[in-house]
Amino acid sequence: MPHFAKPPAGSWTQHYPELGTAPVDYTDSVDPAFYELEKVAIFRRSWLNVGRVEKLPRTGSYFTRELAVLDTSLIIVKGADGKIRAFHNVCRHRGNKLVWNDFPGEESAGVCRQFTCKYHAWRYDLTGKLTFIQQEGEFFGVDKDQYGLKEVACDVWEGFIFINLEPAESLTEYLGDLAKGIEGYPFHEMTSVYTYRAEVGSNWKLFIDAFAEFYHAPVLHHKQAVKNEAEKLVGYGFEALHYELSSPHSMVSSWGGMAPPKDPSMVKPIERALRSGLFGPWDRPAIEGLDPLPPSINPSRSPSWGTDSFEFFPNFTLLFWAPGWYLTYNYWPTAVDRHLFEANLYFVPARSARERLAQELATVTFKEYALQDGNTLEATQSMLASRVVSEFPLNDQEILLRHLHKVVADRVKEYTDAAAR
């Protein structure tokens, strides 16, 4: 007996008939040739989130991104005109990496007035223009205007910086209606950031799969709840309040009555003492913009709403928690069976020790859960790689996974079909 109503088609999955209900082929997560196609068909031509504007507070603030999936390194920099630009991190003289500290493979960040190459001191301004050539007279008529840094399309949506190597549409067109319905959320108030990174031995889609369904939550994480509560949760299983596909993007909206819990004995002593937990500090921050929420967030307007997770194709998750904070995940492939996972947790800056410790508990709890989520992935990858089984039956609460793998397959097919013509 469902606790929450499903669409008239009978299920969320059948509400989107193009998805079908057949088992899903996971060869897309183990085949090296398919991964090479994903790189060109998807990652080179999608808008990819590389950070937030708060990382670039003033003129000349920059950071670099090492993006194996694009076979490049990028410099993201704020110009004197306030505009954020992205460039390939390569000096036009003889191809040295332009911006790096001690180790060329590591990302770096800072503030500068111009970029000067370590090798021969060629200089570029913040708009990428070549401004100085060492011993210019030794060269043979190099026109500096023709040797600026190679620029990459870069745009900002609600403070999130995106890049695209081969854009076919604008960022707002690409993000579409789901994103439109999030605009106005007070992201700019939530500037206290906790950043996490891990290298994970699985295909990038498997971690999205892990976070895009909560069917696993009462089972994998059952030890995290107090005993009676855990048993109750396994008994209920999981049902979402709402799913929305706006291809290639998607979202799931979930209940969660834990912040604060109805009965304090449902939670651990530290949670009672600090009034916080997985869903975040129980006491909402005193800022504008959380009530009412923008229309895409808690779309069913359920009073028992707890969290919404938006999957912006291909590799960016934006997750809102009812108590007034949010987090992001980025999954950066480095090989068919490896990726770099990045999480950022954003809070309204604490104004007191009490608020700081409540946030501390939310962040510590996040890590306990994420470690359990992450550890299943290598186990899954190794068994998928055995190819003993390649087709898997996904249930209705796994609709976002079905959708992700279908969009990936469609984009790769579109690309290979076009290349064959």
Binding site: V193, P269, S352, E360
Partner: protein
């Protein structure tokens, strides 16, 4: 830096007053459950008083002893999972998985 005089009973646990998550997490992994339980049993009953003490000062301008106390309480949060739930230092079922904090608002 010593703790405020009112919290002198927590001095044996000063080594837990660590500024970053990486240090707190590393200390957790290096500690036995008995060590964490002892620290928890001493610090948890003082948590509310510690918060009240710290919040008598502006949060962005904490005196050094209050800052030390707050960092100690951050470690209390860190050991709460092993003590209250796991009964071991590591997260169960987390195997070789790791997650490194590369940026945080340090107190």
């Amino acid at each position: 830096m010593p703790l405020p005089a009112e919290f002198a009973d927590l001095e044996p646990y000063l080594a837990w007053a660590l500024p970053t998550e990486s240090e707190r997490y590393a200390r957790r992994l290096d500690s036995s459950l008995v060590e964490m339980q002892t620290f928890y049993d001493a610090a948890f009953p003082r948590l509310e008083e510690a918060i009240v003490y710290c919040d008598e000062h502006p949060y962005d301008d904490l005196p050094e002893d209050a800052r030390t106390l707050l960092r100690l309480m951050q470690s209390l949060v860190m050991v709460s999972f092993p003590v209250e739930v796991w009964k071991q230092a590591r997260v169960p079922d987390s195997g070789a998985a790791y997650l490194t904090v590369t940026a945080e608002p340090v107190v």
